[in-house]
């Protein structure tokens, strides 16, 4: 790792000031950034640690509105009793990220700011039509995720929370790479007042995306049987040593069926 200057932010306002120094990066759980710095894929001059900012932590559920502080860890999301009632699918998703030690440190804000094409949270936020709240503005999930490791965030902009309306039904199913445990395909289905939305991670050439063919089939009848014979085009899907685009296309339909069955269970 190259030399770096560490700063611990006491508040969002403090972090916004600190992040202006040099070529600074925001540090949350560090589960991606620290490994990236160790391999010298990232070499910020300064790190601004957000993980101890109280106002960015915790889950709030008010009626159907769920707000998750950006510095809330996967462990805390997966174990929050209010959230398990309001939207068990996202709590379940958090329990599938990494391993227990990673879940104690990694945060929802860090995950979506990084926007790894195989990360789990982007699928949930896109399918839930979530709003990403920053220290400057609110961004809808469909405008936020811009491609591989790309988001709508401007330099120095800090995600403070995400919020969404709890759907009537939702579930997440992922097919993991047996070695890395990252999603080869992960599908989040949500049925809310605006209809059915289905978001896919791990598979898209351009990161997380909505599977329109599956949404159209489920709009008629939200049942796994509605997906019999539905084909997802392999165009714009990733092909790598782990899985071909055709294989991923088929897996999307399979994971979507499982997710719908789980949402209806």
């Amino acid at each position: 790792m190259y030399s770096v200057n560490y700063h611990r932010a006491a508040s969002v306002a403090d972090a916004a000031k600190l992040v202006k120094s040099g070529d600074a990066k925001l540090l949350s759980g560090g589960m991606t950034l620290i490994p990236a710095m160790k391999t010298r894929l990232a070499a910020p001059s300064d790190l601004v640690d957000l993980s101890r900012i109280k106002e960015m932590q915790g889950v709030k559920v008010s009626g159907k509105t769920v707000t998750i502080g950006a510095a809330t860890t996967h462990f805390d999301v997966s174990n929050d009793e209010k959230l398990k009632k309001a939207c068990p699918a996202i709590a379940h998703l958090a329990s599938l990220i990494g391993d227990p030690a990673v879940r104690y440190k990694g945060t929802i804000g860090g995950s979506i700011a990084n926007n790894d094409p195989a990360a789990d949270y982007p699928a949930a936020l896109l399918a839930l039509g979530a709003t990403i709240v920053t220290n400057k503005r609110e961004i809808s999930a469909d405008k936020f995720f811009k491609g591989l490791f790309e988001t709508a965030l401007k330099d120095g902009e800090i995600i403070t929370a995400v919020s969404f309306t709890a759907p009537a039904k939702a579930a997440y199913e992922k097919f993991r790479n047996p070695a890395s445990r990252y999603a080869i395909v992960g599908v989040f289905v949500a049925k809310g007042k605006d209809g059915v939305s289905v978001a896919v991670t791990g598979a898209g050439d351009d990161g997380v995306f909505r599977a329109k063919e599956i949404e159209a089939a489920l709009a008629k009848n939200f049942d796994a049987a509605s997906l019999a014979g539905v084909k997802v085009p392999a165009k714009n899907l990733m092909s790598d040593i782990h899985a071909s685009a055709d294989y991923r296309a088929n897996l999307i339909a399979v994971m979507a069926k499982r997710a719908v069955a789980a949402a209806n269970a």
Binding site: L27, G30, M31, D99, A101, K105
Partner: protein
């Protein structure tokens, strides 16, 4: 450079370290606590697991300065003098190790796992939650056995204590 101030195994320690110093290196090289191992150095193998503020984390993926102000327990801090911690005793009893390299991380992760499941553990849960700890010798079988046994011993101990308190 930053001043890193920690409570390690109940002892207050502080020292200057470069900001890029990983917690595992601070523990091993500055404090001489070499029980915590560096295995893969890529946050996969879990040989470096220590408890930071009561949570089992990978000390190769955390800066020492990030931990400043926290309480840390390493494998050296688990036993009570000559009395092994129940998880250590169970690993010994059930032969939950061969070369021993992964053992400190296994034991720290196992202790955390048992604390997280006061209701008790079953084999499937132990195997699933050991996902972040890799052992290349044992095939995990005796490690799982040891953790299940320790979980039972600790549940009994907790009941004993509750009785004493009552």
């Amino acid at each position: 450079m930053s001043d890193v101030s920690l409570m390690v195994n109940g002892r207050r320690v502080s020292g200057a370290a470069e900001d890029r110093t990983l917690l595992v290196h601070f523990l091993r090289e500055n404090l001489g606590l070499t029980g915590t191992h560096v295995g893969c150095d890529t946050s996969q193998c879990g040989a470096c697991v220590v408890h930071v503020d009561g949570k089992a984390v990978k000390s190769c993926t955390m800066l020492a300065v990030q931990a400043s102000g926290s309480s840390i327990v390493t494998i050296e801090g688990l036993a009570n003098g000559a009395d092994l911690h129940p998880v250590q005793a169970a690993f010994k009893e059930h032969h939950g190790l061969q070369c021993g390299f992964c053992t400190p991380g296994m034991i720290m992760a196992a202790t955390d796992m048992i604390n997280r499941h006061p209701e008790g553990l079953d084999e499937a849960t132990v195997r699933a939650e050991l996902e972040g700890n890799i052992c290349r010798c044992t095939g995990y079988h005796n490690i799982v056995k040891a953790i299940l046994a320790a979980s039972k011993t600790m549940a009994k101990g907790a009941k004993g204590k509750a009785k004493q308190a009552a």
